[in-house]
Structures are given as C-alpha cells and as structure tokens.
C-alpha cells in the first residue's frame, strides 16, 4: 500500500505538488493523468525517491520511505520510463537481469527469471536474450523495459508514460500486455500518462491532477459519469458518454423544438409547422408546462380556421423525464406511435424531443466524438 500524506514540492516559487493526500491499495492499477505540468510525473518520482518532497510523507506498507535507503528502496520498486533507457552496452538478458544482479541473485536464480519473463511477452529466450537493444524494434525495446522492471518481482511498478513514444498499434498491444501481466502477477502499478484513452483502458483508479492537486480520484466509470471539474470533462473530450457509461434521455434529445400555446389558432399552427418543415408540434399550457402534441394531419382532419389547437391535442406521444435512463428512453422511442418521445424537465416544462434522428446522432457522438453536421 502506498500512502501520500500532505506531500508538497516546490521549485522556487512554483508549487509542483500541493499537499497531496491519497492512498493506493495493493494490486491496484492507478493512473496519474492531467495536463502537462500538473505534477503527475513528480508524484510518481517521489515514490521511488528520485524526487524528495519538501513537506509531507510517503509511506509504503506503513513505512516512511524517507527513512529507507533510496537505493535499496528503488531495487524493490520497478521503474519504466518513456525513453525506455535500456542500457545499450548490455544484452537483452543482461538488461533484464540487472536488478537481480544488483541484489546478488546467483545465476541459477536469475536466468530462469529472464527466460520466464521473455516467454511472458512472447519473445523466446533463444532468439532474443543475446541481442542488444539497438537490434530490437521500439515496441520490443519497451517490452524489455517492462521486463527489466519486473525482474526482481517488485510488488510495485512505476511507469512514466512508458508507451508515449510508440506508434498506436504497438502501444495498444503493450497496454494489453501490461494489463494482463499486472493481473497475472498482481502488481501494484502507478502509471503516468496524458492520454485519457490509455487511462480509461488500463486504470482501476484514475487520479486526475492539476496544478499539483488532485481534482478527482475515482474509477474510470465514476470519472466518466461524474467528472468533478470542468477541466476533467474537457480532458475527456469524446469520452463523455462513452459506451457503457450511463446516459440519460437528456443526452439524446434535440432542444430546438416547435412549441406553441394551446391558444394558437389552427391556420397559424399550420403555417408554423410548414415553415419549420415538421408535421407535428408541442402544445404547452400558459405556465409553459407540457399539454400535448398536435399533428398536421389532425388539424387537417378536424380543424377549421380560427379554432384553437388546444382542442385537438393528442396525448399519444410517450413522455420521459430529462434524467430517464437511456435504455428505457430507447424502448419508448421504438414503441412510440408518433415516432418521437417528449422530454420534460422536473417542472413539467418541455426540455426537448427525442427522434430517431437525434438518437442516432447522439449515439454516433458517443462512439466517435463530436459530429459537425
């Protein structure tokens, strides 16, 4: 377990970490994310004492790490960096075995570890162990970078934007591998990224930081549903309402709907609808609450000039509350005899309308991001 207690760090005037308090449980995959300069990398580097905080304490399993020899500490914590940093003068095997060797493991002990780890990422020992880093592709290099961090079986692994320099396809493959390895070996991983996709894909818990503070620490699910700060929603961009997150009726409706008072006269109504090129409209009471709907067909069938539309309203359109669950709304839309659903605010005024078109558009946006047209 890793605990931060009032951890602060300043460089001159600028506060990089501002009284951080949080806790990471064993076996948890925690992703630190935020805009650049938010303090996420600094936070990570305080865990293995590459950075010493000015104030506060960091505990690992209840032990104040400032009392632990930093070199000894680092040997028990895996570390993976974006620049990979495989030692070019050492072979793949030597790179992976470097920490076990520092810990004075005998060869009989570290060599099977190397074999096993290479097996784990699908790089057979025989073909790869004696290559030099320069003979590997970027993705393979970072696989070895991860293995080097795992070799002495540290319970905690720190990863600082490990896949930032890789192409998207390799990155995705490595994300999956690391997630798989983490689950298999039950590691606690603290992972820094600025890529929300990556965070959502990998994290058990996301720590969103800004200005050296934690804005929100929550599961990806929770972060998507209830972002605690506009900055977080902005950062998530297209992920707002990603599949699996719970959407409400409000997310699918169109708000530009044709409304008219029940006192509106028939001819005027026909004109309004024609102008907007729709064939029905919503009728509201004097206090702006929902009264019903009226369709062009009904007016043509029943209406006479000068009559008020309030007299020929229908109530076949299903009604949902703004916060109605997306799934229920969807069913109502499909069973609606009029082909749309009316969305009401809590005070019964009209919030909008969901049509099949607006529904499709909203789903598209949820899947593929903002749509322009």
């Amino acid at each position: 377990m890793i605990e931060f207690e009032n951890v602060s760090k300043s460089y001159g005037e600028s506060k990089v970490l501002d009284r951080l308090n949080f806790r990471i449980n064993p076996g948890e995959f925690v992703v630190l994310i935020g805009p650049s300069g938010c303090g996420k990398t600094t936070t990570l580097r305080t865990i293995n004492r590459l950075i010493e905080p000015d104030g506060g304490k960091v505990f690992i399993n209840g032990e104040d790490i400032s009392k632990v020899n930093p070199v000894q500490l680092r040997r028990t914590i895996g570390y993976v960096i974006q620049q990979i940093g495989l030692f070019p003068n050492m072979t793949v095997e030597e790179n992976i075995a470097v920490v076990p060797k520092l810990l004075k493991y005998p060869k009989e002990k570290w060599q099977p570890i190397v074999r096993e780890l290479l097996e784990l990422v699908g790089m057979p020992y025989k073909e790869n162990a004696h290559k030099y880093p320069s003979e590997l592709s970027g993705g393979q290099q970072q696989r070895i970078g991860v293995l080097r961090a795992l070799a002495a079986s540290p319970p905690i692994v720190l990863m600082d934007e490990p896949f930032g320099a890789l192409d998207p396809i390799t990155r995705e493959a490595l994300q999956e591998e690391v997630k798989r390895i983490q689950k298999k070996l039950k590691k606690t991983i603290v992972f820094v990224t600025h890529d929300m996709d990556e965070a959502l894909r990998m994290a058990d818990t996301i720590v969103f930081m800004s200005g050296g503070k934690i804005l929100q620490m929550a599961s990806p699910e929770e972060l998507l549903q209830n972002p605690a700060d506009p900055l977080i929603s902005e950062f998530m961009g297209k992920h707002k309402g990603a599949p699996g997150a719970s959407l409400t009726a409000g997310d699918f409706m169109k708000t530009r709907v044709l409304k008219a008072s029940r006192k509106t006269q028939t001819l005027q109504s026909v004109e309004l609808m024609r102008k907007r090129d729709v064939n029905s409209m919503i009728v509201v009471n004097d206090d702006d609450t929902y009264a019903g709907t009226v369709s062009l067909d009904t007016i043509k069938a029943l209406g006479k000039a000068g009559k008020e539309i309030g007299d020929m309203m229908e109530d076949q359109a299903p009604i949902v509350n703004l916060n109605e669950d997306a799934h229920d709304t969807f069913e109502k839309l499909y069973t609606s005899p009029v082909g749309y659903v009316v969305v009401l605010n809590d005070d019964k005024t009209v919030a909008g309308l969901i049509t099949k078109t607006s529904m499709a558009k909203a789903m598209g946006e949820a899947l593929w991001g903002e749509m322009l047209s």
């Binding site: 680092r74 570390y79 620049q83 920490v99 320069s134 970078g145």
Partner: protein, 220 residues
C-alpha cells in the same frame, strides 16, 4: 633517395642496431610512463569534473591553453625547473598526455544519454554502480580515443626529450641534425614515425574491439 642511399642506410642500421634498439626502448619507456601517468591523473579527474560541472569549464579551458604552449617551450620550463635528464622529460610528456584523455573522459561521460542514468538510478543503482556499469562502459570508446591521441602526442614530443638528455629516438635525430648525417636522422625519424603510426592503428583496433556490439552500427 637512390638505391645506393637505401643500402647505405640499411648498412648503417645494422651497424648501429644496438644504439637504435636502446633508443627505441627508451622511447617506449618515455611514452609508456607518461601515458600511464596521464591516464592515472586524467581519467579520475575527468570523472570528477563530470560530477562537478561548474569546475569543468575552467579546468578544461586551462587544459586547452596549456596545450597551445609549444612543446619546446614546455621542455624549456621543465629544464629550468628540474634540470637535465629523465624527470623533466617525463614531467612534460605527462602533462601532454593528460590533456586529450581528460577531455575525452569528460565529454565521454557527460555525453552519456540522460535516460540511461535516469533508468539506472530508478532501478536502484548506487552512484558508484552507475559509474562502473553504465557511464564508464559507454564512455570507454571515447576515453580510449583520448588515450590514442595522447600516445601519438607523446611519441612525437618524446623525440624532443633527446634535447634535454633524456634519450629516445630523438637522440639519433638530434645527432643527425647537428652533424648533418642523413643516416642518423633516418635511424631516429623512421622508427619513431613507424611507432607512432603503429601504436595509433593498434589502439584504433582496440577501441573498435572493446566497443560493445550494441553501440556499433545501427542506433536506436
């Protein structure tokens, strides 16, 4: 130079083989001792400077200035300080030997990519281990390059040692120059040139052979 002159020279060399051999041995001693001294001083100093960079600029600039002082002048200083013989010659040669090794050790170590140091530190290497396992191996080729330059310099300046009675192949050249004897000149000049070229080539080969495979050819 005609065939006749070559024959005369060969005959001269055979005649004086013992002298030439002794001078050659002395030359090697001069070079060997001064380069060894240069390494002993320059490599630790270079490492030290790479740790304390604010000293480094001043020291390296000073070293660069010393290097522009002509060899003859340095020899003159040493002569005035220590008198005639081996010590002043070794003193001057050692100073010349230090400079290239110092420069190359310093640049070799400071040019080691930051990410390697960061990674090494992050996985729990002590400063000493980072130096031994990462920095020195990565700087080794540069350091050996410095030693090569240093050897070439000292082989060259050691020919001047003859001027202050320290012997070496310079003695033969010097005798030849002052008596206008071509054979003496060649008996000193040719071996010293061969020694310089051979040592330089040899160290180049060593330099290549100690460069780990991972650092050759394809880079990341």
């Amino acid at each position: 130079m005609g065939g006749n002159a070559v024959m005369t020279f060969v005959a001269f060399c055979i005649d004086h083989q013992k002298d030439i051999f002794n001078c050659l041995v002395r030359h090697f001693q001069l070079v060997g001792i001064s380069v060894a001294a240069g390494m002993l001083i320059a490599i630790p100093l270079g490492i030290f400077l790479s740790r304390f960079k604010h000293f480094a600029l001043a020291v390296l600039r000073l070293a660069g200035m010393v290097q522009t002082i002509p060899g003859l002048v340095m020899l003159g200083f040493a002569l005035l300080l220590f008198g005639i013989g081996l010590p002043p010659a070794l003193f001057v040669l050692s100073i010349y030997a230090i400079l290239p090794i110092l420069q190359n050790t310093y640049t070799g170590i400071t040019e080691v990519e930051k990410s390697y140091i960061e990674a090494a530190k992050g996985i729990g290497m002590t400063n000493g281990q980072i130096l031994r396992k990462i920095e020195i191996p990565l700087a080794l080729s540069s350091i050996v390059g410095g030693i090569r330059t240093s050897v070439v310099f000292t082989v060259s300046w050691a020919t001047l040692a003859g001027l202050i009675g320290a012997g070496g192949l310079g003695d033969l050249i010097w005798t030849g120059l002052s008596t206008y004897n071509t054979n003496y000149i060649l008996a000193g000049a040719v071996p010293s040139a061969i020694v310089a070229i051979a040592l330089s080539g040899l160290i180049s080969i060593i330099q290549k052979s100690i460069t780990p495979r991972g650092l050759k050819g394809v880079s990341v």
